[in-house]
């Protein structure tokens, strides 16, 4: 049966298989031994089976309330709902490391399954590199963070879970975010394999890009989910705090975004090869070090690893091996990679280079801001803080030019372009942007929100124009245009959609900068006005819940005398944990959120007053909608025919390499 011992054994087996997977195919690829290389896919799938078994055993232990397993005893309880018993498995240190390893195993198996068209040596090397990384994590799991450790005597009940964590949004956020982080291990492995081979070409670019795009989609969704969670759970209308934990996810997102763009240049023009390899290594390195260093206590004020020196030492050593090893290989092999195709500064390549410069500058700013305080403290023994006001002031001005170039970059021809004909096609977009600016000046206060809104409109309209031009919309029968649309590569449509998503998110941010809120203390029956709405507190009553008591308020919101909606924010008191949580009530019409929170109550029976926090958040849902649209655009480009069946083949003889770009 699925006993913890079986899980432990399966994990150990997976670790051994991962080590073999990391060594034999590498030797095979080096000696050009097809038998050794052919072992790679089987080993990757075997390792995945081991990890799935281990994970299933841990879930089984949690679901069956096996409190003899220490991890379950510390994080679960009999009374916990089934869903949270399952999701609670990855809501703690040991379980999350196991989930991390499982996703890494999935990546290896995915390369084994979908990488049939890869040259056998490249595939063997990619899978081997993934195996080596997996070995490290599984060893970490086995030696310092064993999720299957038993406790004796077994307690009758577990210690339960923080009520704040019992939330569906939070339950599925980690797997998606981790898939994003770990997914970048595949481009990383491709980069290492290419360095070992000493060869990066257009085919390599075409192979690596779908993996990077897939990881990027997950990371985008994961970040958006985290932001949404803090918006609707924490109860004061914030959505992004520039916290080190958030920055740790933003940094690989920025370099990952740069990567999926620079890989296009490799694929189409064989240029930027060394840079793309470096980005692939850097993105995964940031994913790794970010998630682990925020837990080291250096950035965050709680010592998660520092409590256990063995963990801190192990993880730093692992990071040193993975990052240091790959960068050393890069330093040794990258100089021998040949330079690629030439291009003029004004060209599609040029625009993509600019995109990379801006994204990496943004990344440098976020990284510096996040790391500056501990380094100041270490080097100069001086204490400073770097928070939201700094990041707002530095990142937004850097992002604005990005939006300008996003508008016409995709329309520039490769190699050498004329700016004028492209801009000429964008007169409609420019006109609409001017209109949007005028509207924004009337509607929004502040220079940056106006600029953001105007440029967001520019990005959206010019992305639409790009598609309209390509299908020659309004230049002939609509049916013919639609036919052309169907014939258009999905990657091009995906690009336009993803860019539109950026525009939508930026519009949401501009709207949120105009959010209004009021904090009031009122008796029942009192009416407040905020943003043109009348908010009336009509009732507060208490309601029993499964393991808490809730105080539920009823707030009627009227506009011009008509009831728009009724909000029921509540406050839950969990007796066992002696903790209260607030349950925000949000009404959205997709253009704005009406957001109500119930706070403390004062007074005695009959003369009670209640603290209410009322928010009007214009365009708030667009921030997350935009992220979904971005991810959808990425997914659409993944479904491109050329990715699915394109089976890019390498030029057969070295002399054709220069031609086949």
């Amino acid at each position: 049966m699925l006993s913890p011992e079986l899980g432990h054994y399966a994990l150990a087996l997976a670790c051994v298989l991962a080590a073999v997977q990391g060594i034999l195919p590498l030797i095979g690829a080096h000696r050009r031994d097809p038998r050794l290389m052919a072992l790679a896919p089987g080993l990757a799938i075997g390792q995945l089976i081991g990890l799935v078994t281990a994970f299933a055993c841990l879930i089984h232990a949690a679901v069956t309330d096996d409190f003899s397993v220490q991890n379950v005893a510390a994080n679960s309880a009999v009374a916990k709902p089934l869903l949270y018993k399952i999701t609670g498995v990855w809501g703690n240190h040991e379980g999350s490391i196991l989930l991390w390893a499982l996703i890494l195993g999935l990546c290896g198996a995915a390369v084994a399954a979908f990488g049939r068209n890869l040259p056998s040596a490249l595939r063997a090397r990619v899978i081997a590199v993934l195996g080596l990384v997996a070995t490290g994590f599984e060893l970490f799991c086995l030696t310092t963070s064993d999720p299957f450790a038993r406790v004796w005597p077994a307690p009758m009940d577990g210690q339960g879970m923080n009520p704040l964590l019992q939330d569906p949004g939070l339950a599925f956020h980690p797997p998606i975010l981790y898939t994003g982080y770990v997914g970048f291990a595949v481009p990383f492995a491709f980069a290492i394999a290419a360095l070992i081979e000493g060869r990066v070409d257009a085919a390599w670019g075409r192979w690596v890009r779908p993996w990077a795009v897939a990881a990027w989609c997950f990371l985008t969704c994961g970040i958006a989910m985290g932001s949404w969670w803090s918006y609707y759970v924490l109860g004061w209308g914030g959505y992004w705090f520039w916290d080190p934990v958030e920055n740790a996810s933003l940094i690989p997102w920025l370099t990952g975004t740069a990567l999926i763009h620079s890989a296009i240049v490799v694929e189409k023009r064989e240029a930027l090869k060394i840079w793309t390899v470096l980005l692939a290594i850097g993105t995964f390195s940031f994913s790794l070090s970010g998630t682990f260093l925020v837990r080291s206590g250096i950035l965050n004020s709680v010592h998660a690893f520092a409590n256990d020196p063995a963990r801190g030492v192990f993880i730093l050593g692992l990071l040193g091996l993975v990052i240091g090893g790959s960068l050393a290989l890069f330093a040794y092999r990258a100089p021998s990679l040949t330079a690629g195709g030439l291009f003029a500064p004004v060209s599609r390549e040029g625009a993509l280079v600019l995109n990379n410069i801006l994204l990496c500058s943004l990344c440098a700013v976020v990284l510096t801001g996040t790391m500056y305080p501990p380094f100041m403290s270490l080097l100069f023994d001086r204490t400073i803080s770097v928070g939201k006001p700094f990041f707002d002031a530095t990142t937004i001005p850097l992002a604005l030019p990005l939006f300008i170039f996003m508008g016409f970059g995709p329309m520039l021809p490769w190699k050498r372009a004329q700016l004028w004909p492209v801009l000429n096609r964008l007169w409609l977009a420019a006109g609409l942007t001017v209109v949007a600016t005028l509207v924004a000046i009337r509607q929004l206060s502040g220079v940056l929100p106006v600029l953001c809104a105007a440029l967001a409109v520019w990005v959206i309209v010019s992305s639409a124009t790009d598609i309209a031009t390509r299908i020659q919309l309004f230049r002939g029968p609509v049916a013919a245009s639609l036919h052309r649309l169907r014939g258009l590569p999905r990657a091009i449509i995906g690009t336009a959609i993803a860019h539109t998503g950026v525009g939508i998110t930026v519009l949401g941010l501009a709207g949120m900068s105009q959010a209004q809120h009021r904090i009031v203390e009122v008796p029942i029956g009192s009416t407040q006005s905020l943003a043109g709405y009348e908010w009336t507190l009509t009732d507060v009553h208490s309601e029993p819940g499964p393991n808490y008591t809730a105080m539920v308020a009823t707030i009627e919101i009227r506009r011009n005398g008509h009831v728009v909606t009724v909000l029921h924010p509540s406050k839950r008191s969990f007796n066992m944990q002696n903790q209260t949580t607030t349950d925000v009530a949000i009404h959205t019409n997709l253009l704005s959120d009406l957001y109500g929170v119930l706070g403390d109550s004062h007074g005695t029976d009959g003369h009670m007053t209640y603290v209410l926090r009322l928010h009007y958040n214009p365009l708030a849902p667009w921030m997350w909608l935009g992220a979904l649209v971005m991810a959808f655009g990425g997914a659409l480009s993944l479904s491109d025919r050329r990715v699915r069946v394109g089976a890019p083949r390498r030029a057969t003889s070295p002399s054709t390499q220069g031609i086949a770009s």
């Binding site: 809501g91 916290d243 330079a339 030439l342 607030t582």
Partner: protein
């Protein structure tokens, strides 16, 4: 609202209990990559009646770091000390002090830790110049490589044999 992990407290008992509990669970929280923030639903009586003064107080408060929380400003935090500091800010605003004076009051007591937006100084010059520095470095590197690349001689023209192979290849190549 998480107090620091060093075993000391800055909040009344109920809050203290929550923060200790939360600190224990923080490992889980960090894994989930979300910040742990307080539910800063607070006493509205602390707000200033003049909306312009209140807006100024909020703007100042947003620049001040809560001393016992993770990374929030005192405006966002429900910690006891943050509430006290909010009140102080409003008192000083009501007395007509300038933003700079209020900031000075805070920094002289708590040091630079309290500024969420670090002051420009010799030590923070790298931080503040980072956007320009990164941009310049990126553009400079791009220009350098472009010049060097453009300076390399173009490959020799194709031989007839290669031209023939090119024709064969481009015939099959899926154009984009």
């Amino acid at each position: 609202m998480i107090t620091k992990p060093v075993p000391r407290s800055s909040a009344p008992p109920a809050r203290r209990f929550f923060s200790r509990l939360a600190a224990g669970l923080l490992a889980a929280f960090c894994l989930l990559a979300v910040p742990l923030y307080g539910l800063a639903v607070d006493d509205p009586s602390e707000m200033l009646s003049d909306p312009r003064a209140e807006a100024r107080a909020e703007a100042i408060g947003a620049q001040l770091r809560c001393l016992v929380c993770q990374n929030e400003s005192i405006e966002d935090s429900s910690a006891g000390l943050a509430r006290d500091l909010r009140r102080v800010v409003r008192e000083h605003v009501a007395q007509g002090e300038s933003n700079q004076q209020i900031m000075q009051w805070m920094v002289s007591r708590y040091g630079n830790f309290i500024r969420l937006k670090p002051a420009l100084s010799l030590g923070t010059i790298m931080l503040w110049s980072m956007p320009a520095l990164a941009l310049l470095l990126g553009c400079g590197a791009a220009f350098f490589f472009y010049r060097r690349h453009a300076a390399t001689p173009p490959p020799p023209p194709l031989s007839d044999d290669e031209k023939a192979r090119l024709a064969r290849l481009t015939g099959k190549d899926d154009r984009t």
